[in-house]
Symmetry: C2
Subunit: 251 residues, 2 copies
């Protein structure tokens, strides 16, 4: 029964999309069946995998309540629910819709059995789209850049998780925290990493994703890191993260 | 009659807050009267300047329609309208309020005459808070990281500016684009910078803000870059940007 995992952090630019694209792809390479949902109106995951001219997207899923005809399938790529920039309007349009916080959860319940994992890439906010993703999810994965503003935002993220747990989804838990754009030469990085380790303990993945320009270049070609440069440090880090992710599952 | 400038880009983590804090401070050091409004529920500008225990914030301004008693004043710092995380709720709460898109504009009209410049730091989204800021603004300053996802988001940002121009604020214009976290050793940086230069021409500021870890360290001490390390590359870049900003005003 596929676990649904929201990749979330309202701080902007911390590597949510880069992690969503490359971790879901790494797990596909390790023979897991994976679905990735792009829940961000920026639709960066959609272009990160090189999908374009999208006719049906997660916007229809939220308004119509079904995934029929929306999932894109491609060789060696996770199954994919694309986004379009229309999604920006959903925040206001959904305000008066029934069950507005459960739209994604209800739609995913029909397909989750076909997958080992379902990942949801969230926008940099704690609005209705993120609440929909957190209500649908069993757990959350938190990408975190080792910088002050990112660290500061954690308190607000954890209190939002508690709000969603109390209001819509009582079993929601933090699956783990992944350090991104990690640069061990910088004091700031090491200081913040130490704070995170103290706070999250075992939930902090041992695999940190190093800063590696190949990860930033890959999306300009609409490719994940494995297609773009499988020998890069970025590809090594994300495969190692996927292996650690699976190892934890076994325990 | 103080010009109101929204610092905006819905792409997350591109240096909006870092530019809002340090450009507004640099202009204060150059003897301009400046007000900075934190319109982001993350309230990063607020902690970046070391303000805490905020009792009245921009949240009250939007709901009550007045800036009375909200502006914080401190030596050698821009006057400041703080944010709190309560602001996340404003997006939904304001949906049914009269003139919901003009709340900030109306409140600022009473004080703008006291300043040379009013800056507004925006959240990484194109929702109600950003629309309020764009409706209140005379112009926008767009910080841009030279990476693919940031470049890709520009189209959506420009179409939102056009929407706001047509619906609420006909004279809104792009004052300029500032390249941030600039690393001239990377091909990606130079390629994206070239695309931006071709598209924006003279609107692209010549001063690029180099990647400089001191800029990321300063907020952990609640200080702007000039207080934290006035000799750093980051401080030099932001003073140069302020001077270029003022030079353009004269023309
Ligand atoms: N480990 C890394 N090394 C170098 N660059 C990276 C790395 N991870 C992400 N990037 C780049 O940093 C930028 C921000 O990453 P990304 O867009 O994945 O973050 P995000 O949290 O999804 O942003 P948003 O909040 O806008 O959704 C992107 O340009 C991306 O290519
Ligand atoms: N020139 C720079 N050199 C190094 N680090 C920088 C630079 N500019 C910003 N940073 C750091 O990069 C991160 C992102 O910057 P910042 O928070 O200012 O972006 P933002 O666009 O305001 O993000 P958000 O979308 O979350 O509001 C922060 O940790 C900041 O300290
Ligand atoms: Mg993203
Ligand atoms: Mg910011």
């Amino acid at each position: 029964m596929g676990e649904i995992i929201a990749i979330t952090n309202q701080k902007g630019g911390v590597g949510k999309t880069t992690t969503a694209v490359n971790l879901s792809k790494a797990l596909t390479l390790l023979k897991r069946k994976v679905l990735l949902v792009d829940m961000d109106p920026q639709a960066n995951c959609t272009s990160g995998f090189g999908f374009s001219h999208i006719s049906r997207s997660v916007y229809e899923v939220l308004l119509k309540g079904t995934l029929d005809g929306v999932i894109l399938r491609r060789e060696k790529t996770p199954d994919f629910v694309p986004a379009t920039t229309d999604l920006t309007g959903a925040e206001v349009e959904l305000v008066s819709v029934d069950n507005r916080n459960f739209r994604l959860k209800n739609a995913l319940s029909a397909v989750r059995g076909n997958y080992d994992y379902v990942f949801i890439d969230c926008p940099p906010s704690l609005g209705l789209l993120t609440v929909n993703a957190l209500t649908a999810a069993d757990s959350v994965l938190i990408p975190l850049q080792c910088e002050f503003y990112a660290l500061e935002g954690l308190g607000k993220l954890l209190s939002t998780l508690k709000f969603v747990r109390d209001a819509f989804n009582e079993h929601l838990y933090v699956k783990g925290v992944v350090l991104t754009m990690f640069d061990s030469r910088l004091n700031l990085t090491n200081q913040v990493a130490e704070e995170i380790r103290k706070f999250f303990g075992e939930k902090l993945f041992r695999t940190a994703i190093a800063r590696n320009v190949r990860l930033a270049e890959a999306p300009s070609f609409g490719r994940d890191i494995f297609e773009y440069d499988g020998k890069s440090r970025g590809a090594e880090n994300y495969i190692a993260l996927a292996r650690e992710f699976l190892k934890r599952e076994k325990q």
